[in-house]
């Protein structure tokens, strides 16, 4: 939270040990680790291009990692048809999209009010927000399900969206990030006659891009992967998101591993792309926002 622009701060000790031998050891270790992290994903992708019965049969050789025999997009076509993927995918996009975009707005507004605006009861509200962080969603799932059933919201989008928009952890992240922005900038804008709303939208929010990126990615990770809640509140496929939709394959034998792997590839890609696009801001955001305990 200290300096916004800082020079490269890698360990000095590393330059001390910059002998070629050390370098080779480091690279060897890194490559072994990279293989451990990536092999399941390579396996997933290569399996998604194989005939269903070859996926397991190939597991005892290096061919497990190669799309041999290659069946092209057959599994993808199957997966899209069997799981009604366009529908399920759109459901996930709608649900995650609403949670993340609305969440960015309401949580940052709340965080800004706590960090900068003067009003009575601020300390109490901050304490409540911190206390709410500890309540795990799972502990609320059963009564929330009851509430949802009472108002007839089962099998709807709103029951999958509304409970997750406001998030005490994200409010806290925004709060600590806003605390770190130099006050002088806002005061300068105020003297120019800008009200608090204008100061927020024109000065503070643009400065807080790393915080927004961090919360967007975290929010996307949480919401895109949700499994417990949608499997409780949805019955049919109409409003089901991707992670629950995968159940289609497990219920109907024989297990078509090629199709399943194609489905997991399609489920994983959007998040991966989002992360690769925003990873710079994300890493910077984690570094400068309040993920500091």
């Amino acid at each position: 939270m200290t300096a916004k622009t800082k020079p490269d701060r890698s360990n000095v000790s590393s330059s001390v040990r910059s002998s070629p031998v050390w370098r080779w050891i480091l690279y060897a270790v890194m490559i072994v680790l990279a293989v451990l992290f990536l092999f399941p994903l390579v396996y997933m992708v290569s399996s998604s291009f194989k005939p269903d019965d070859q996926v397991l049969a190939n597991s005892d050789s290096f061919e497990a990692f190669l799309p041999i025999p290659f069946v092209g997009l057959e599994n993808y076509v199957d997966a899209i048809e069997r799981a009604q993927l366009p529908r399920v995918f759109m459901n996930s996009v709608i649900i995650s999209g609403c949670i993340v975009s609305l969440g960015l707005i309401v949580n940052s507004l709340f965080g800004y009010a706590l960090a900068r605006l003067r009003f009575k009861g601020k300390k109490v509200i901050l304490a409540i927000v911190i206390a709410l962080i500890i309540i795990p969603f799972e502990a609320l799932a059963v009564p929330l399900l009851f509430m949802g059933a009472e108002v007839g919201w089962l099998d709807t989008y709103q029951i999958q969206i509304l409970p997750f928009i406001a998030n005490p952890l994200f409010i806290f992240l925004f709060y600590t990030f806003f605390l770190g922005i130099p006050k002088s900038l806002e005061e300068a804008a105020r003297i120019d006659g800008a009200g608090p709303v204008r100061v927020f939208t024109r000065v503070v929010a643009p400065l807080a891009k790393p915080a927004y990126a961090t919360v967007a990615i975290l929010g996307f990770l949480f919401s895109w992967g949700q499994f417990l809640w949608p499997s409780m509140v949805t019955r049919g496929i109409d409003v089901r998101p991707l992670p629950v939709g995968i159940g289609v394959f497990q219920n109907t034998p024989p297990v078509a591993w090629g199709d399943i792997m194609a489905y997991t590839v399609l489920m994983t890609l959007p998040l991966l792309i989002v992360f690769l696009i925003f990873q710079r801001q994300f890493v910077q955001g984690v570094a400068s926002s309040g993920v500091k305990g």
Partner: protein, 316 residues
């Protein structure tokens, strides 16, 4: 221009006149509440209210759909659970999962963070590689690893080569190996996230401290112990706390990976699997709520205990 704010150092910003500031206060309060309102209402509706409901339900025989009227049953739900072997077994499964995953995963994350913080070509690429599994949602990760842990799958093929065919368990159908399989998936998927937080922490440790330490002739290990670890203490505590909470919430993997949720023979049944089974599948909302309340109390105690313990230990 009367009173000048003493903290003002920037020459271009001047404090507004007193009168204007006094007038702005009331509108500022209004704006503050306006900013708080949307998220505030949602927090009350979807966290505070269900939380209170959970406590209320836990003292009743509430069911999701039932012809019987709801009535107050006192501590019956709690007594039921606390005398139920299955409940304790679930807690024990949480405990053994957490006791392994929290320290080991944090240690690996720290090691990875230190590695990708070294100066070498391609370190950004390695950072991305280690973080990539985090972007694989748990339902997908679980599915990939079900395939990998198949008795004839890739993991066993690899193990047979290393152990000359002496070790190839049927991971997910074994009461002994199902939990280790879940632990492996969880660490693979989660460690990159902790790495990023710790990496950010490492980059905040002032370089001068390392310089001073190496001038003093401190070994690499001594530098790590005396400069790095104290420098990232807060983030390390944060990571430990969050990992503990997430470990207690373990649900997706034991639901998706074994043939039956929490199986085989309840060897991977966690508190959350148990709660959903009782409160949702069997529709006994009252009992499920009691489990939720006990669960919350445990998480709260653990969090407070961990914070206090770690904070005090570090005061030296």
């Amino acid at each position: 221009m009367t009173a000048v704010d003493s903290t003002q150092t920037n020459a271009t910003t001047e404090p507004p006149p007193e009168s204007k500031r006094g007038g702005a206060d009331r509108s500022e309060t209004r704006v503050a509440w306006l900013f708080i309102l949307p998220a505030g209402v949602l927090l009350i509706l979807f966290i505070v209210v269900p939380f209170i409901l959970a406590i209320v339900f836990s003292f009743t025989n509430q069911r999701l759909i039932s012809p019987l009227a709801t009535r107050f049953v006192g501590l019956e739900n709690y007594v039921d659970q606390l005398t139920d072997g299955l409940f304790w077994k679930s807690l024990w499964n949480n405990a053994r999962f957490s006791l392994f995953v929290v320290p080991v995963q944090t240690a690996i994350a720290l090691m990875l963070a230190v590695l990708v913080n070294q100066k070498f070509r391609g370190r950004t690429a390695f950072r991305t590689v280690f973080f990539t599994p985090v972007t694989v949602v748990m339902a997908a990760a679980a599915t990939i690893w079900i395939l990998l842990f198949n008795p004839n799958g890739l993991i066993n093929a690899g193990l047979e080569i290393i152990t000359f065919g002496n070790f190839s368990p049927d991971w997910l159908n074994s009461t002994i190996w199902a939990m280790p399989a879940i632990i492996i998936v969880s660490m693979w998927q989660g460690v990159g996230f902790q790495m990023i937080i710790l990496l950010a922490a490492l980059q905040d440790v002032p370089t001068e401290l390392y310089e001073a330490a190496s001038i003093d002739g401190a070994s690499t290990w001594a530098q790590f112990r005396n400069v790095t670890l104290p420098g990232i203490r807060n983030q390390l505590i944060f990571v430990l706390t969050v990992t503990t909470i997430l470990a207690m919430r373990l649900f997706d993997q034991p639901t998706l990976m074994p043939r039956t949720p929490g199986g085989p023979l309840d060897s991977t049944r966690t508190a959350m699997v148990h709660m959903v089974d009782v409160g949702f599948s069997r529709q006994a909302i009252g009992r499920g709520s009691a489990i939720a309340v006990i669960f919350f109390a445990i998480v709260l105690t653990l969090t407070l205990f961990q914070r206090r313990f770690l904070r005090e230990e570090g005061e030296v």
